[in-house]
């Protein structure tokens, strides 16, 4: 069962001079129920923007240019007792609910999306350490979320649940009466995770859940997320620049660059049969513990600015494999498996399959061999291309 279907989502940031920043361009991906989906990429590639846009939490100048966010769930007032959209709502052409009961979150108003936030989609922000309000008790902040979406709950019940949630993430229930400054960094992170589970959401967005933490705590947080996923059956959308985090917890993932998805598919295939020059470069620049004397090779150059970008492939300026074609247009998402047997052919339509946006998808063996060589990635080589 698909929980979330993002179709051709383009997000823009309006800039004072009238131009716009293309934070994401025609991004499509889908998240199944109970799965962990990863969005990986360098900072500034649009992954956080993408996640925030799902529940309309963009900064003031950000807006959705086009695309849909089909979510399996709907507003409380539009649903029956099972939580499915009622037939009358589906039939109503003014309501963004389609025949299978999925609601287009991108088409909801601000007042409507507030009912979706946290109840259906909870978000653990990038700065989770600063996400607790210093002047309220941690427990009360969890209670606030419960009472917002389940007003029929009594305050005592809500407090009991808050303590229970804290216990589940390994925090003494009595610490519910403490303030954020009395918590350690890891505890704050876990408290925010506990808060995120307060209304048993269907989707949990974890934006850089481990970035500010040391490795031991990182590992514990990741375990915590996996445990919660088993307990609550929640789908998790993880955002990280750290591909080792992705390797650990994702089922499927998408690699983003410059506001575009470059490669997506099951995690094992992306790591095992990498099919995009950008992913190859990204892999090179991360250490693996198994090969101790490995030289880290970074991708030269910096990500593009994305202000009114041209039509070419977003990665071409930094790509050692770029060819003439790459300057003309951004490549479509090719099906990797089909390309291996049939050569570069049709755009892959199955969002769940391993897909890659690269015109040289039919020369993968060559690309993979070359990408391991450090000399491939030197600045001169790319510039003299």
């Amino acid at each position: 069962m698909t929980l979330l279907e993002v179709n051709d989502l383009s997000i823009r940031y309006a800039v004072d001079d009238g131009s716009s920043v293309h934070a994401t361009d025609d991004v499509s991906f889908s998240v199944e129920r109970g799965e962990t989906y990863g969005l990986v990429g360098e900072s500034g590639c649009g992954k956080t923007t993408l996640a925030k846009s799902l529940v309309h939490l963009l900064d003031d100048n950000g807006y959705v240019e086009n695309g849909n966010v089909w979510f399996d769930g709907t507003l409380p007032q539009w649903s029956d007792e099972q939580g499915d959209a009622t037939q009358s709502v589906i039939d109503d052409p003014d309501k963004p609910v389609r025949a299978d009961g999925k609601t287009d979150l991108a088409a909801l108003t601000n007042a409507q999306i507030r009912d979706i936030r946290w109840r259906d989609i909870a978000i653990i922000p990038q700065s989770a350490m600063n996400a607790l309000n210093p002047v309220y008790k941690v427990g009360d902040q969890i209670v606030e979320a419960i009472l917002r979406h389940e007003p029929e709950t009594t305050a005592d019940e809500a407090h009991e649940r808050a303590r229970d949630l804290l216990e589940r993430v390994g925090i003494e229930p009595d610490r519910a009466d403490d303030y954020a400054h009395q918590f350690s960094g890891g505890m704050k992170q876990r408290a925010v995770i506990a808060m995120a589970m307060a209304c048993s959401p269907d989707l949990l967005i974890a934006d850089e859940p481990t970035t500010a933490l040391d490795v031991i705590i990182q590992d514990r947080i990741l375990e915590e997320l996996e445990k919660l996923q088993e307990e609550f059956g929640v789908s998790i959308l993880v955002i990280s620049h750290d591909i080792s985090v992705m390797a650990e917890i994702c089922d499927r993932m998408a690699v983003m660059y410059g506001g575009k998805v470059m490669e997506s598919g099951p995690k094992d295939e992306i790591f095992g049969e990498t099919a995009n020059p950008y992913t190859l470069g990204l892999k090179n620049s991360f250490p693996t513990i198994t090969s101790a004397d490995q030289d880290l090779v970074s991708i030269p150059g910096t990500p593009p600015t994305l202000r009114d970008p041209d039509d070419g492939c977003r990665f071409r300026d930094r790509c050692p494999f770029a060819i003439e074609e790459c300057h003309a247009s951004h490549p479509p998402m090719y099906d990797v498996e089909a390309a291996e047997s049939l050569g570069r052919s049709e755009e892959g339509t199955d969002e769940r399959a391993h897909r890659s946006a690269c015109y040289r998808i039919d020369e993968l063996e060559q690309l993979r061999t070359d990408a391991i060589e450090e000399s491939t990635w030197t600045e001169q080589r790319i510039e003299s291309r």
Partner: protein, 329 residues
């Protein structure tokens, strides 16, 4: 639940007490370094040297200065503020009569200003950069740059003189034709206090707004404001409960400072509105070298500030749980 330890409070009280001793000493020295003596007002040109000598003797002016100082310090700490030569009354009685009048006027100005200011600051900070923010902010700066006595004259001119809506002087109707009951007195005071309070708060709220607006704007970028939104709370709840609550902390500091300025202003404003409070007698006491009254009035104002400072500490611990006083001492 308070996070102020008893030990810390005791220490603060001792320090406050010492502060007051220093202020008393300064008052003693400063007033006596003014030219003239405080019996000048009691001496008329026809008096003989003998008579003058007797007055000096009565008021203890023949004692050496250090003895006068010691006597002064002892008197003050035993609650003996002495007698006013110009008002021919116990200084304490004067204060008891006049202090509440000043507190009523400036207390209400203070409270109204600190309700309006932070509220306006909250909205402007939240919507910073909007047309509304820009226009209200620049208007308030214009108000802020006007002297309060000038604004008061404007109000008196328009509302009292031109429109004749409200009285511009005194606290009570001078020769009342109504019966004096608690209700009529209260109504009468409200009627008289309206104009001075209006003209003082007309600009008085700006100070706290100026503190609130930028801190409010800062907290809008905080992670907890984002999280509050992500929880699905309404914009209003996010603004008031999560953002404004945090932005209030610096406003508390501003409150004490502005109280000091308010009381400074009382000297002028009470004279403009002929308000029979402390500010009025400060002027006449200093002009007439009425040292007992001047000393006592300045001392009471200092006491007010010291007590307010102590109270701010308590308010702080309620506003911000991160602040603890007296831990580990």
């Amino acid at each position: 639940m308070t996070r102020i330890s008893g030990k810390y409070l005791a220490k603060r009280i001792v320090v406050s007490y010492l502060t007051l001793l220093v202020i008393m000493s300064l008052l003693f020295v400063l007033l006596r370094s003014m030219p003239g003596s405080f019996i000048t007002s009691m001496i008329s040109s026809g008096m003989t040297a003998e008579q003058i000598e007797r007055i000096r003797e009565t008021w203890g002016l023949n004692e050496p200065l250090w003895k006068q100082y010691v006597q002064f310090m002892i008197n003050y700490q035993t609650g003996n503020f002495g007698r006013s030569p110009t008002y021919n009354a116990q200084v304490w009685d004067l204060i008891v009569r006049r202090m509440p009048r000043t507190l009523v006027l400036f207390g209400s100005t203070f409270i109204i200003g600190f309700i309006i200011g932070p509220l306006v600051g909250m909205y402007l900070g939240w919507w910073r950069g909007s047309t509304k923010d820009k226009s209200i902010f620049s208007t308030s700066l214009l108000l802020y740059s006007m002297p309060s006595f000038w604004i008061s004259w404007l109000f008196i001119w328009v509302i009292n003189y031109e429109l004749d809506w409200l009285p511009s002087a005194y606290m009570f109707t001078q020769f009342p034709e109504f019966e004096w009951t608690a209700f009529t007195v209260m109504r009468d005071v409200l009627y008289h206090i309206a104009l001075p309070v209006m003209s003082l708060t007309f600009i008085g709220w700006v100070g706290s707004m100026l503190i609130m607006r930028p801190t409010m704007n800062q907290v809008t970028d905080e992670g907890y404001v984002f999280l509050a939104r992500a929880k699905g709370l309404s914009e209003r709840t996010v603004m008031v409960k999560h953002a404004a609550r945090n932005a209030l902390i610096p406003v508390a500091t501003g409150a004490v400072v502005s109280l000091a300025f308010l009381i400074d202003g009382s000297v002028i404003i009470e004279n403009v509105f002929n308000w029979p409070g402390m500010g009025q007698i400060i002027v006449s006491a200093v002009l007439n070298r009425d040292f007992p009254v001047a000393q006592a009035v300045f001392f009471m104002l200092a006491l007010l500030i010291v007590v307010m400072r102590l109270l701010t500490d308590v308010v702080y611990t309620y506003l911000d749980p991160r602040i603890k006083f007296g831990e580990g001492e």
